[in-house]
């Protein structure tokens, strides 16, 4: 039997994902029509022996209760949310809830960072794990040299996959093999966490309780992987599948495109194929490439959508609207002849007629294999806003005939004119 733990963090984390995470917990932000962590649940339920999924974080449980119930209904699998009393780090929470994880005595359990997305090779990890005498198997992927230092860097034995050296976000180049934030752990890892916890506790008491360090805070990366490197107990499973972090709001469009592409392989029925779906309806909107449309959305038959568009529930798309490389969240409405490019339109936002909402894609360099998304800061060194995708928070209203270019608009704003390269508080 296997289990999976999805680390979802808490409200103080994921600030770079604002304003998309201002009115919805980041793990529930829909990419390609599904909440980010539902993609992980999708990957988990494909593993035959996996019997329970635990969401671990410190969001108030009210934020997640509805989602968890929906997931149980949809996937008919045991899913629970375990709430940390405070941010305990990637390993601290696991240790805190060790009894819950150990119960039922799983052979191993997955640990998946909630803010990555990709084609997770969970089944392949199981096979790999079976061949090794491992405490932990880490998924690694190739990165380009100058970007690798933003990740956990792994040096491995090329034949066995054993991790020889591990360092989190080094200041100088170490290796192009980076940690994807997806692990398969043996229950024995709790022994290591226990001794680590004990050691930290002793330090805590020794330091006369004045240090603010909470002994319960432990990181899987620094506190576990780093010491395990070179002991023959940690291995890396290397994948060339698509993978990306979802740190900044700007990465949402990039992730959306790739998740839609993954549907093509795993769930082609989720992609809109109007030719088959709506045979009885004569006139259907034109769909280009991969597009996800929620069944409750209304799309006027003269609209043109795609490629790489996700439309949420109860969205209303008027006549002659053009949408490309964008996410339209539930309840939003877009009036006649408007154009949405490289943008996220927030829940219940309203966009007038003949308006243009456009962002600048910040995709990885397509000419460099293994290049990852650059999570650029909001502002460049000259103090100017880095051009990025346009994001409209929830319930933003945009008048007719304006242009919004490279704009970030916080929730509940009523715009009255065109804006470019700005953050609208």
């Amino acid at each position: 039997m296997l289990k999976a733990i999805i680390l979802i963090g808490g409200p103080q984390k994921g600030t770079r994902f604002r304003p998309l995470s201002l009115d919805i917990p980041k793990p529930l932000f829909p990419v390609a029509g599904l909440p980010i962590i539902q993609h992980h649940i999708e990957a988990c339920v494909r593993v035959p022996d996996l019997k329970e999924i635990i969401l671990l974080g410190y969001y108030p449980s009210a934020d997640l209760i509805k989602f968890v119930q929906e997931m149980i209904q949809e996937y008919k699998i045991a899913i629970r949310y375990l709430q940390e009393y405070t941010a305990l780090g990637t390993a601290g929470g696991m240790y805190h809830f060790r009894d819950q994880i150990k119960s039922g005595n799983p052979v191993a359990f997955f640990v998946i960072n909630g803010d990555v997305c990709g084609d997770l090779p969970l089944l392949e990890m199981c096979d790999f794990y079976g061949e090794k005498d491992a405490l932990v198997v880490v998924v690694g992927t190739e990165a380009i040299r100058n970007q690798s230092v933003n990740y956990g860097c792994i040096v491995n034995d090329k034949n066995t996959g054993e991790i020889l050296h591990y360092v989190e976000k080094p200041s100088t180049f170490v290796s192009t093999l980076v940690n994807c934030g997806v692990y398969l752990c043996s229950l024995d890892i709790f022994q290591i966490l226990a001794s680590l916890f004990k050691k930290k506790e002793e330090e805590y008491i020794y330091n006369d309780l004045c240090s603010s360090n909470n002994s319960s805070i432990m990181q899987l990366e620094q506190d576990v992987l780093r010491p395990l490197a070179g002991t023959g107990k940690a291995f890396v499973y290397q994948t060339n599948n698509w993978w990306s972090q979802l740190k900044s709001a700007g990465s949402a469009i990039y992730a959306n495109r790739h998740c839609l592409q993954l549907y093509k392989k795993r769930h082609p029925e989720w992609l809109t194929n109007l030719g088959i779906q709506d045979l009885q309806v004569k006139q259907t909107p034109k769909i280009i490439g991969n597009v996800f449309i929620h069944p409750t959305a209304f799309i006027h038959h003269t609209a043109v959508l795609g490629p790489n568009v996700s439309i949420g529930s109860n969205v209303h798309i008027g006549p002659g609207v053009r949408i490309r490389e964008s996410i339209i969240l539930s309840g939003a409405s877009i009036s006649n002849h408007s154009v949405i490019l490289y943008s996220v339109v927030g829940r219940n936002s309203k966009i007038g007629a003949w308006t243009r909402v456009e962002g600048t894609p910040c995709d990885p360099n397509p000419n460099k294999p293994f290049a990852k998304m650059d999570n650029l800061p909001l502002f460049n060194t000259n103090g100017k806003l880095n051009p990025s995708i346009t994001i409209l928070g929830c319930s933003v209203s945009v008048p007719s005939e304006v242009i919004l270019l490279n704009l970030i608009v916080l929730p509940y704003k009523e715009l009255s004119r065109s804006f470019k390269n700005e953050i609208i508080l």
Binding site: G320, R322, R324, N336, H337, V339, W354, R356, K420
Partner: protein, 368 residues
């Protein structure tokens, strides 16, 4: 009421001049006087107004592309019953030299003659000019107009009866808001003051005439605009259209989907669900597809604007093709035969002829 009774055979000289660089990229394809303003070559607006007051002979002082103008204008002139004479400068003669070059024609009789800058669009006050000129009886009359920002122009200072005292070119501090409107009427005797060489009438002829109290100013009240550059071209278009409205002109459209003052050539086709206006001029054989919104723009002949596009403050040159969901704004000027791909945004772009625009132009820029 006819002005024709006031005088005998009256002539006019229009200073057409050179390359019209300020109105590029349009003037790369067509000499400026032939660029259509409100679906009519700019020069024809002036010639028509001259014909109305009895002018029968118009001298065009040209230094460039005379043949093209002759081909395009002679038929129109015949229709108007006016004799066009091309006075070709082999070197640019400024604003006074062309008078010397054409002096033989201008002095064929003793009637005063008009001199006009070719960039002016206004409610041409030619009849008042004749009356005013005959009344004061001196050598010259300059039309002046009131502007908001006189520092770009030549300001004219004159006393209460109109006698001009002084000229101040592009004043840095406010002296007056009355500027030289580029329309004159002169007695033949002015020709004695001008030699056949490059000369500026404003700087080298007028000051002497003013000293001798031979120059009077006529202030006129109608709209006036120097439409020699794109921004002013569009402003002039708005003024022209609202003056048509005042005159209750039948040229203005009144139909569904049309807002405010709009001229649509009868041969143009407008799709469904469009919003055209205010202040739009659509040329012959233009095709506007469904769901297009255009405001404050001129679309020149045979262009196509495809569905769902949005245009504000643009001049679209001849035979352009604008794709679907395109947004053009902020004094964008497209030269002849420019193709703009679907979903493009152009902000203040000046696009040279025959270009294919496949990526957006978010900041004002010249596209070579």
């Amino acid at each position: 009421m006819c002005g024709k009774e006031l005088i005998g055979k009256i002539r006019a000289l229009i200073l057409v001049g050179g390359y019209g660089t300020r109105l590029r990229p349009l003037t790369l394809s067509r000499p400026k006087p032939l660029v259509e303003f409100a679906n009519k070559p700019m020069l024809i607006h002036q010639i028509e107004a001259l014909v109305e007051v009895g002018v029968t002979e118009v001298v065009l002082a040209v230094s460039y592309r005379a043949q093209e103008m002759e081909n395009d204008l002679s038929e129109e002139a015949k229709k108007l019953g006016v004799n066009l004479i091309f006075s070709h400068e082999t070197e640019p003669l400024g604003t006074a030299g062309p008078l010397a070059l054409a002096s033989k024609i201008l002095s064929e009789n003793d009637e005063p003659f008009f001199v006009l800058n070719s960039d002016i669009i206004c409610d041409f006050p030619f009849k008042e000019m004749i009356i005013f000129h005959k009344n004061h009886g001196r050598e010259g009359t300059i039309c002046v107009t009131r502007v908001e920002e006189p520092s770009k122009y030549g300001v004219v200072l004159y006393d209460d009866d109109g006698c001009i005292k002084d000229f101040i070119e592009k004043p840095q501090e406010f002296v007056s808001n009355k500027i030289n409107a580029g329309m004159y009427i002169f007695n033949v005797s002015i020709l004695k003051r001008i030699k056949l060489q490059p000369t500026s009438i404003e700087k080298e002829v007028f000051p002497d005439m003013a000293k001798e109290r031979q120059l009077f100013a006529l202030e006129f009240q109608g709209f006036w605009m120097d439409v020699g550059q794109p921004r002013d071209f569009l402003t002039g278009m708005c003024l022209y259209l609202s003056s048509l409205r005042q005159k209750k002109s039948e040229k203005l459209m009144d139909q569904d989907g049309v807002i405010g003052n709009v001229i649509i050539d009868p041969t143009a086709r407008i799709g469904r669900d469009c919003k055209i206006g205010p202040n739009v001029i659509i040329g012959p054989n233009v095709i506007i597809e469904d769901g297009v919104c255009i405001r404050r723009s001129t679309i020149l002949r045979e262009s196509i604007i495809k569905s769902h596009s949005w245009l504000d403050s643009c001049i679209i040159g001849w035979r352009c093709v604008i794709g679907r969901w395109v947004r053009l704004e902020n004094n964008t000027v497209l030269g002849e035969d420019v193709i703009v791909k679907d979903e493009i945004y152009i902000n203040g772009g000046q696009v040279l002829p025959h270009k294919n625009i496949a990526s957006s132009v978010p900041e004002p820029q010249i596209i070579m």
